[in-house]
Amino acid sequence: MIAPRHGLMLLAPLALVLAGFFLLPVLMMLPTSFREYAPGTGIAPGVWTLENYTRIVTDDYYREVIWRTLGLGLFVTLACLLLGYPLAFLIARGPERWRVPLILLVIFPMMLNLVVRSFGWIALLSNRGLVNNLLIQLGLIATPLKLMFNLTGLMIGLTHIYLPFMVLMLVAAIRNVPRDVEAAAATLGSSRLHVFAAVTLPLSASGILAGSILVFVLTISALVTPRMLGGPTYKVMATLIYDEYMQLLDWPSGSALSFALTAMAIGVIWLSSRLTKRWAGMA
């Protein structure tokens, strides 16, 4: 066991770096979020206001972007979970010799640059992209489906990009489910399906929770892919914040949106942890 004093010393270098280069600058943004921005001149001196925050709740456009971001996070998390669980199950329980090749396949896309992968989706999903061309040539559709600059496009792209994180989390959790406990359920009369629903799934809840939080947080804060697949008009919070800062130079509004995003992420994580723990009997 490491003594608490030694633990602190081991933690210190990282803690100092984080405090100095992350926490402090973030906290310095906090006052900025309560300032007033005058277009053309910048931050008005000596004026303090809550308007940057009240606008997030009252402005229809901001509200739409917030709901869109949360919905996107939820959909991408669910899609990753539904696509990832069977794959993770295969990796965790399948033949030993498949394990390493399959894990390599899962992480292989992460070796490509994010921008390259997003461009790949543009080539596939645009109006004259591979998917639409194929469907038109097969005679299945007459006019191109709108797969980009909307929720569909962002969902497809982000699900693809964050699926590996979910799968890796789930593999670890499923491998930790004791086989004896599943066998016990089977001898007590559970069919294979019931064993999965009543034992395997709740016992891998920790991995489902960890993977979901990771994917959700990454999704609602993603910038590059939403910018490329959503274009300049279909915005989520991350792209909105980017534009407030870099295009409109409205730092107070951008800061307020940033803190709102952080608060929402923490709120959703807290809520989902509580629900999962109740479901899986973790205390």
Partner: protein, 360 residues
């Protein structure tokens, strides 16, 4: 009426044969142990009975039903694991109720039967706890309650006491035996611990390398081992190198060391063969002083006290060393190294089997 029987049951993984062809019949209400060293195939047999491992050959019958190809959930068995295997996300009550709910028991009936099962293992007050809040012994009792609650036709135990400490293990042996007698459920108990097998079972099946060595009452297993392996596995044996000197019916005589000759009642090898000679420590009668007729002369080399018994390492004149045991309170319980002693060994407790190292 047979409750559980195997007919030429066997399992192989590729070329490797884990269980040869085991046939045995267990009577209704009987407590049978499968005893053997690790890797002897006993757990594989248990898992085949439970339906968790598919047999390569042979049949398994519960009552008169052939269950060989049934999945585990259709067999109506209760299984208790070494690892307890409780559902960590469910309370003790829900753990025990699991099998009953699968059998569509509900409401007051469910409540009554869960409480009855918990009372049987003296855990009535623990229904609302989670498994992680219980000690190892309590967890294993929950696992037993969970297995008996649905009133299975056969109870299976896979080394259930191995994870418990020694004192608790002794208590649980008695408790388990009493529980099984009270319920009258046919029981198959897998263990590598001869003490457990002998003390709890009506009959014991000794296994070695996937082959059944002997299936008999604990008394027969101990006093009349059918093979050299059983003799060497049960009790506390001395194991010595020797040669078969003469043969006479089942027995004959054995030569040990530089010229010591001993009569033996069971010899599983031909005349002149190299053999492993097995002599139980507790079958050697040790007395201080000079040997009388038919006794062997030796001197004490080492004394080791283990509570109720004392073990002596005795050096015989022919360069052979034997370990002999006596009660720790008695005239010969405190002999110093160097003391001359006399040893008397019954021919009936000397066994010989083909030497493991040499070709027989």
């Amino acid at each position: 009426m047979s409750a559980l029987s195997f007919e030429r049951l066997g399992k192989s993984y590729g070329e490797a044969e884990v269980v040869g062809e085991v046939s045995l019949t267990i009577a209704e209400g009987e407590f049978v142990s499968l005893l053997g060293p690790s890797g002897c195939g006993k757990t594989t047999i248990l898992r085949m009975v439970a339906g968790l491992v598919a047999p390569s050959r042979g049949r398994i019958l519960i009552g008169s039903d052939d269950v060989t190809s049934l999945p585990p959930n259709k067999r109506g068995l209760g299984l208790v694991f070494q690892s307890y295997a409780l559902f960590p996300h469910l309370t003790v009550f829900e753990n025990v109720a699991f099998g009953l709910r699968r059998r569509k028991v509900s409401g007051a009936e469910l409540d009554r039967r869960v409480k009855e099962a918990l009372a049987r293992v003296r855990l009535d007050a623990y229904g609302e706890r989670f498994p992680r809040q219980l000690s190892g012994g309590q967890q294993q009792r929950v696992a037993i309650a969970r297995a008996i609650a649905p009133q299975p036709r056969v109870l299976l135990f896979d080394e259930p006491l191995s994870n418990l400490d020694a004192q608790l293990r002794d208590e649980m042996q008695i408790e388990l035996k009493r529980l099984q007698r009270g319920l009258g459920i046919t029981t198959l108990f897998v263990t590598h611990d001869q003490g457990e097998a002998l003390s709890m079972s009506d009959r014991v099946c000794v296994m070695a390398k996937g082959v059944m060595q002997q299936f008999a009452t604990p008394e027969d297993i101990y006093h009349r081992p059918a093979t050299g392996f059983v003799a060497s596995f049960i009790g506390k044996p001395n194991r010595l190198q020797g040669l078969v000197a003469t043969r006479d019916g089942q027995g004959g005589s054995l030569r040990l060391g530089t010229g010591l000759t001993l009569p033996a009642a069971h010899i599983d090898a031909a005349l002149g063969a190299r053999v492993d000679v097995v002599i139980r420590q507790e079958a050697i009668r040790l007395r201080s002083g000079e040997p009388g007729p038919g006794a062997l002369a030796g001197t004490i080399a080492l004394r080791s006290f283990s509570g109720a018994r004392v073990q002596y390492v005795v050096r015989l004149s022919e360069g052979v060393e034997l370990i002999a045991e006596t009660p720790s309170s008695g005239p010969d319980s405190a002999l110093d190294p160097g003391t001359p002693v006399s040893l008397v060994i019954d021919a009936g407790s000397i066994f010989a089997m083909a030497s493991e190292g040499a070709a027989a």
